[in-house]
């Protein structure tokens, strides 16, 4: 038992440390002047005055777009899952809109929202909206018919049926869908910030390169994005666990 625990922690930790060491060595040996060493990255980030503000702006944008997507997407997904006629009409439309990268909506976003926070928020909304709708819709479609039958048997109205049977029944599946769409939102955030704004982690990366080949900040930005994204995903996993019956 102790050996298992040791292995679970020591092994990944060891490999990670080894990789960092290898990175450091590679930079030192190759004598490159552009690619940063691990220490450079940490220093660069630490010296960056506006880092806190950038992180805050990124979090704000992703939270706004994502929450709107959830608030709109779940009821729509419910409706599409419950009334199959509606789903059949809407499905081709969803399938057509889905492959269009949120970034491709950028010109339209700029027309509608100008160069402001709203444009990236809109893109994030678009990116999270479809996965939330689809996950909710599939959740409803896959409810064991027994539950709905039992609900009807006990004389529940349709509203009560949706509230007391359908919603609890789909909760675990929707929770997973919500976590996955947050992951997508986080990815799109970076892309969105590379184009139309002047703050945020995505902006940091593009600007660091354009304004002076500061690859220490580029790598630092990437790592921050990875770490924060992972932390948020972990948080959502905890929520998901609590909600799964």
């Amino acid at each position: 038992m102790r050996r298992e625990l040791l292995e679970r922690i020591a092994l990944p930790l060891g490999v990670t440390v080894a990789l960092i060491a290898a990175w450091h060595l590679a930079v030192a040996v190759s004598g490159t002047s552009i690619f940063p060493a691990p220490a450079d990255v940490v220093r660069g980030l630490g010296e960056q005055p506006r880092l806190g503000g950038y992180i805050r702006d990124s979090l704000f944008r992703v939270a706004s777009g994502y929450l709107v997507a959830v608030v709109l997407g779940i009821p729509i997904g419910l409706a599409l899952g419950w009334w199959s006629g509606l789903a059949r009409a809407a499905n081709p439309l969803i399938q057509m809109l889905r492959p269009i990268s949120p970034l491709a909506w950028m010109p339209l976003a700029v027309i509608w929202f100008g160069v402001s926070n709203l444009a990236p928020i809109f893109l994030i909304f678009l990116a999270s909206f479809f996965p939330v709708v689809v996950a909710t819709m599939n959740g409803v479609r896959n409810i064991p018919p027994m539950y709905v039958q039992a609900g009807r048997n006990f004389g529940l109205s349709t509203a009560a049926l949706l509230r007391r049977v359908v919603l609890p029944a789909i909760l675990p599946r929707v929770a997973v869908g919500l976590r996955i769409s947050f992951g997508i939102a986080w990815l799109v955030l970076v892309a969105a910030e590379m184009i139309a704004v002047d703050s945020g982690l995505g902006y940091l990366i593009i600007d660091a390169r354009n304004a002076g080949q500061r690859y220490d900040l580029v790598v630092g930005g990437m790592l921050l994005i990875g770490i924060i994204g992972l932390a948020l995903d972990g948080l959502l996993r905890m929520v998901e666990r609590r909600v799964t019956w």
Partner: protein
């Protein structure tokens, strides 16, 4: 009559689009008709085919390269629990990093051009493919692996005769979803790092003269091809030799 229902959604969307544009005079958003005309214009100039081919070319190579690396890696990590545990934190850390965040790196290593774009597609497809392969390997019925070992298969034989056939159905689903991701990313990558392709079309149309009709035409093309690629992959799932893996639940 039932067959027409799916079209009502799209028809309604186009109708609403047309009405909204008509009701907002002076808006830069093009009407459906204008977008349609722009598509024809692209076709006449020969750009339609050229841009579509350019985008498909980059996706294909980046995606295939990722497939080539991801499947063996995924099978290895799927079977070798210790290895998976060791490398898991790295994989988890890389997952939330948008492929587009790698653009400066790509440009540093490959310069601006096709290679950069293909590298980004490769990156974007690699992790999802590795993850779904590992997942598929974990999903193999323990009895099948046990039977393989019972009959005295070596590691290599086990992989070839049990693991690979067993994961194929789920793998193809993963491949289909990843292809969708790759298609998304190619468009985004083309908006930033190259000068041909559908993503480029969108950025250029706007920058070079506010040709929003071309922008929307490009979006339509992207959507249609995306659906087409997805349908193509779904055909693979229909092969009778794979249907066993898709038991409807």
């Amino acid at each position: 009559m039932r067959r027409l229902v799916p079209l009502t959604g799209i028809a309604a969307f186009v109708a609403v689009w047309h009405v909204v544009v008509a009701l907002s005079p002076g808006t830069l958003v093009p009407a459906p008709v204008e977008a349609g005309r722009a598509l024809v214009e692209l076709a006449e100039k020969g750009l339609l085919v050229r841009y579509v081919v350019a985008s498909l070319f980059r996706v294909t190579w980046g995606y295939l390269a990722a497939l080539f690396v991801a499947i063996p890696l995924g099978v290895l990590l799927g079977l070798w629990r210790r290895g998976e545990r060791a490398f898991n934190p790295i994989l988890q850390l890389l997952r939330p990093i948008s492929p587009l965040a790698w653009i400066p790196m790509a440009i540093l290593w490959f310069g601006v051009g096709d290679l950069s774009a293909m590298f980004l597609i490769f990156l974007a497809s690699l992790l999802p493919l590795v993850t779904s392969t590992i997942h598929a390997v974990h999903g193999i019925e323990a009895q099948h692996l046990a039977a393989g070992r019972n009959f005295g298969l070596t590691h290599e034989e086990l992989v070839r005769s049990v693991v690979l056939p067993a994961i194929l159905p789920q793998l193809i689903v993963g491949m289909r979803l990843t292809l969708g991701i790759a298609w998304l990313v190619v468009v985004a990558a083309e908006m930033i790092a190259v000068n041909s392709g559908l993503g480029f079309l969108i950025v250029d149309a706007r920058n070079a003269g506010n040709r929003y009709d071309l922008v929307v035409a490009g979006m339509i093309l992207i959507g249609v091809i995306g659906v087409g690629l997805d349908l193509l992959m779904r055909q693979l799932e229909r092969l009778p030799s794979l249907r066993w893996g898709y038991a409807t639940g």
